[in-house]
Amino acid sequence: MATTIQTTQTASREERRAGRRRPRRGPATLIGDVILGIAVLLIFAPFAYTVVTSLRPASDLVKDPLGWPTNLTITNITDAYSKMNYAQGLFSSTIVLAGALIFTIVLGSLAAYPLARISRSWATWVYRLFIAGSTVPIFVLLAPLYLLLRDAGLLNSYAGVILTYTAMNLPVAIFFYTSFFRQIPIELEEAAAIDGSGPIRTFFVVLFPLLRPVTATLATFLTLSVWNDLLVPLVFLQDPSLKTVMVNAYSLVGSYTLDPSLLFPAALLGVAPLLIVFAFLQRHVVSGLTMGAVKS
């Protein structure tokens, strides 16, 4: 493992040096740069347009939807804030997200530890069972899960939604934690055991802190999928006081369909918390999204 890391590092260093050394940049490369720049900006443009439009007065929008912003206002945003019950939605979304994160990370890493260390066939089968769970689309479970949560009195409760997200995401968590545990040398646990540390203590004090990179990556992935999800809270949290940001935003569609001076700031408020969090976690965002893309 150590050698692999070293080779990739040298390789990327060499490659970076080669990139800097590239001597002549002819007109062809310049054209390439420009085309790529335009393509990137085109992909980013709808988002920029959303931000700009959110800040323009409704009267300007009617006159010229694509025009250059001359007057800026935050009325649209404050308006959307109250019409989509943003404060309440933010509260619900945060509780659901925090619960799902804690449960998935703790239960997933706990289960992955013995699964990575025990090579008996029963452990392999338990592992396979977990991984198979990731292929089941939520739609297959929708009707029976609704009935189960109803009978358990967990419809319209944060607990029901948190449990659903945790179960749905455990396969991913176990997959990544298991492969990471296999890279941690077993000598570390033996040393801890000699020092008189039991398995539980070893797990929480010695091993769990080592999992930080995977945990950050997994947390990024979970945050994206849980925060942005509409289906689960739409079906299982119908009580108006429990609705999440996405469900509240969705409710706007029926009543005010195409009004950009409401929907654009609503869209912006919906992603704002994610963008703020990800600004701090930037390097984990890409790794969170490309988890498993590259064999290592």
Binding site: S12, P65, R117, P144, N228, L230, L263, V271, A293
Partner: protein
Amino acid sequence: MIHRKPLIAVAFMAPALAMYLVLILYPLVQGLVLSATDSKIGNAGNFVGAKNYVALGSDSDVMRALGITLAYAAVVVVVQNVVGLVLARALYMRPRIRQLGSTLILVPTLMSAVMAAFVWNSLLAPDGAINSLLRSLGLSTLTHVWLGDPSTALWAIALVNIWMFSGYSAAIFLAGYMNLPAELIDASSVDGAAGWRRFVSVEWPLLAPATTVAVTLSLLGSLKVFELPFVMTNGGPAGSTTTLTMLIFAKIFGGQGSFAYGATIAFLLLVLVLLFGGITQSFLRRREERI
């Protein structure tokens, strides 16, 4: 030293396993049982055997949704991955733009489908930005009621899907590119392989692991697409954007409350996901091994 203490090992796994058994495995079995009944609004209903499954074949709504879902997935998988790959290569070749560029193209991926739907519903509206842009470019003949016309609505939604996730595909391919052995790239340029030639014979084969992930994710994602058509068109106009997931949702939570039939269509979706996911995976994995 957990491997020497099986009881403690089981205790570590127990909470996750319990949650998995109760909230995934049990509902999965319950769903299968449900699909063999005529249950409405979740009431027990009578056992009807394979009747619901037989009914799928002669249900024109289901067959139509199946066709829509497959066509949508085919277009999204091909276009999204081609665009992603082109973007990734362009970014890889241009270290100066790489960092900023790869961040900017990921912004749509961070947006939820609900938010993307808001923005694009407005952009695609009859008087929206896209049509205004076409008019101001003197292309009035190309203006269109994109989401109101059954012949364009599904492809407009596919476009939004492609817009959202091309940057994601690009990030996966770029991660593959960054992992290419530099010596090999250097050697191939010494041998005079550049441009298209180098892409076909050196880069593309070496990108096999990234291709497996990018293609599989886009395939499974597009087969299960729900929120975009749900928010953008609610399955219309004239059912032209009613995918399998939309139909499942409508059967269960629509007026009829056909829990049993909804669960049956859901198993059709599961078969589709397992079948196409399995075929693609085994094909792409075998390709990885050949290299």
